[in-house]
Symmetry: C2
Subunit: 496 residues, 2 copies
């Protein structure tokens, strides 16, 4: 773990208005609650838009379900009573801690059993007072409870997926009684972690994105699932991990032929998840697909892989889970709601299998800050946020060289011509040099300066954030130039 | 109230996949919780995008704050203990009801005092059993409580504005210690209504949009606030209401000169709110700006007006509040947090005044369904959702005439060329006539049919939802034609 880089990212993020917290700061803050400032919200909106576009291009439709559900729903889903963290208590100062955090080292098992934790109690001391822990592991419920109406109990959802399953019968009608179909949700979820940590990576209130693909169990190897067949992905199967091998880059088709997973639809879902992260601006070389071992896998999951991303501050980190949940959820909710949850196709009653892609949106926001914040020391020049142009809060900054002689008016006119197609801002305060540096810190890839030549010759200066090169171009060509640069059709140095 | 129209809208909305509920339906549903289906979510996203664009064009920046805040915050804001509904209890069956709903007629005072309600108890009977009410008004807290960590109490926010104020010191830094500046939030809020009703108009979980403009109290009449001066708006001042006059249409400048409101910034904010609703697709002739009477106004508000919209089902309905909140909130939070909340400009400590625009996003979604659902009886042809093209879930439907001879491939190619600029869907199932009707019900304003001429002559048929007219146009011209139609530069009948 690179603690120095993490501290730099946190300071940068707070100072520039990406993320503030823990919130509410003026009241001392509550651990695990954060606020997106203006630049952070633009960044997060771009990430959400990339998720939305990628899922919709692959035939998923978005829905929005309530964030609060009654008790019965969470009994059916298995969350109520089972979704908890282990706790130890200090016998001296009576402080309580999340057991795995104080008893285990960071790299140890992700989900230890209570028995394993108990064994470690004698070796550890209370981090507050140095006292010994009571020889007991208790359980802390992660569900956040609330009151509905005069006498009902509800729980804030700990994930979105359960709420997505519930309108299943409505979906079958909407999708005209056909399979397969897909739905996704981007929305808030809540987990009452005892000790939230790692900044945006483990919080109590977060935004989740989860996509569910409903498929006929007999058609999991349909030709439809060939669209990513030729894409090369970094697969790290359980077998490779056991043999201490590195991930292997191969096509989705090769991976299927080698039986790394046992259905075409699973490979398709895996590739789709990878593409979502790619479209959010995460570099391919920072990603790998890691298969869960038999011990990690949830009991209902026929197969489970994660998208992992290599962070500068925390190393390889789980970012997204891809699960074949089979008919588990629909069967559970059918049992608890006493409704028949199937689809009737050509007289055949089918309970679809569900392939799931589940991840948080706050983590990708952190990924971009972590990977692309290029901190410079005073002697090396200014720091730059080198986020890809497709994701940057603003794509173009427009500056008049001087605050007089009609330059501001002309610059605003240039802005009006660009703002429908790009995320643009206008800045006239401070020297041009200062404005360039400020924009580079905000992550703005291109800046346009309108000067005296702009009035007579219809030209302006365009500056590239990453190379710091500048070129003089025609104002009338700006739309095309920027579109080409932002879509990587042209690189700056080749610009004429 | 037009109950028939309401029932038609509800049935349409559920059947076509706009809004489902109360959710979770298979578990019997909780009053006041709804699910947006695929078409409803597209519609709601378009509404949120219109809000975002309008605020950002007027110099507001978006932020995202937590939906849960500790007790202290809600004490400071005045919500805790004061944000409650009056309740009556039946002395016979012990059922409880929201007092104003069962004791008063719909058109009576919006916020009656407990004394007024008490007086009406003898005249009313329990709606369940016909029994008499106990002679007592109790109070039901609208705040939804939850647990944070091991021992903290939090509340789900009943509105977003309070959470927006809290990072005030961060804003002053972000906006480089200058006034004015604006921030807005679009996000969830929660109110534990005793009896949620009127479909999406009064729910327990809702999306709110609130914008806050921070202004130097000495500069509320700055020239900056002239941008809407020449816009004509339907003003209905308290004075006009008292004199039983109709709203008057006049420019914002005339209204200011006539002292309908006492600062230029207030008129600017009012006009901005009106423009948000206009940009969400609400027709000008269905709106009016109504000033609050002295009794309705919150004690801290220097002035308060509402945007009201004339619904087909409920008549004139409050949709948005515009308030001059002065320095009330910053002063309260300074007191409770013991932090100094001011901005230091040129050595002067300024506690800004805050102008607020507050509304729900679910209500505009309902407005569009209510105003634009054109229900037809079987003999009159099919029903049409005549939502403006800027807001419609999809803007363009693409159909191959036949499912063979390369027409599907060609149609998909047409779609690929359009989907970057427009919200497009593809449909090849059923007769062309059926596909047109289905698209009209979904609200899709334009449909393109690719036929055998498309292969040789590069032409296709474009059909207008509202006039049902069809024209033959060049495929290569489609981008421009659609852009012109959707931005109302060209009307369909003038299309060549």
């Amino acid at each position: 773990m690179d603690n120095k880089h993490l501290q730099d990212v946190l300071a940068f993020s707070a100072q520039k208005g990406f993320v503030w917290g823990p919130s509410p700061e003026i009241y001392g803050g509550m651990a695990g609650f954060y606020t997106y400032g203006p630049l952070g919200k633009l960044l997060k909106n771009n990430i959400e838009q990339a998720i939305r576009t990628t899922f919709m291009q692959n035939m998923f439709m978005e829905v929005e379900c309530p964030t609060i559900m009654p008790e019965q729903v969470w009994k059916a889903s298995g969350h109520l009573g089972n979704f908890s963290d282990p706790v130890v208590t200090c016998s001296k100062c009576h402080a309580t801690f999340r057991a795995d955090h104080v008893l285990l080292a960071e790299e140890e098992a992700a989900e230890p059993s209570d028995e394993e934790l108990l064994k470690r109690i004698p070796e550890s001391k209370c981090p507050s007072c140095g006292g010994e822990f009571e020889n007991n592991i208790t359980r802390h419920d992660l569900m956040m409870k609330t009151n509905i109406g005069l006498d009902q109990t509800g729980y804030l959802r700990p994930e979105t997926a359960t709420t997505t399953y519930l309108p299943f019968l409505r979906y079958t009608e909407f999708f005209r009684t056909k399979l397969p179909f897909g739905v996704f949700q981007i929305g808030k979820a809540y987990r009452n972690e005892i000790s939230p940590r790692q900044y945006l990576l483990r919080v109590r209130e977060f935004t989740q994105a989860e996509a569910q693909w409903f498929v006929d169990p007999d058609k999991k190897n349909d030709e439809f699932y060939s669209s990513f067949d030729d894409e090369k992905l970094p697969f790290w199967s359980w077998n490779m991990q056991k043999l201490h091998k590195e991930p292997e880059i191969m096509t989705v088709k090769e991976a299927f032929d080698k039986k790394l997973f046992n259905s075409k639809v699973y490979g398709w879902t895996l590739a789709l998840a990878y593409n979502v992260f790619l479209n959010m601006g995460v570099p391919a070389e920072k990603m790998r697909l890691r298969q869960h071992g038999p011990d990690e896998k949830a009991f209902y999951a026929a197969d489970a892989w994660d998208v992992e991303v290599q962070l500068n501050s925390f190393g390889w980190y789980e970012m997204c889970g891809i699960h074949d949940r089979t008919d588990y959820d629909l069967t559970q909710h059918a049992k608890f709601s006493k409704k028949e949850l199937y689809i009737n196709i050509d007289g055949k009653k089918i309970v679809p299998h569900v392939l799931e892609i589940a991840f948080g949106v706050d983590r990708p926001t952190f990924i971009l800050l972590d990977l692309f914040y290029d901190k410079k020391h005073v002697t090396e020049g200014k720091s730059v946020f080198r986020v890809p142009a497709s994701m940057s809060p603003y794509q173009v900054g427009i500056f008049p060289l001087q605050k007089k002689d009609g330059l501001p008016e002309l610059a605003r006119k240039v802005m009006d011509d660009l703002h429908k197609e790009f995320r643009v801002f206008y800045d006239e305060s401070g020297s041009i040099g200062k404005r360039y540096l400020r924009a580079a810190e905000d992550g703005t890839p291109y800046c346009i300066t309108v000067d005296y030549d702009s009035k007579d010759k219809d030209t302006c200066t365009i500056r590239d954030r990453d190379t710091e090169e500048q070129k003089i171009v025609k104002i009338t060509d700006l739309n095309k130039i920027l579109a080409d640069l932002i879509s990587y059709k042209v690189v700056f140095k080749d610009l004429k």
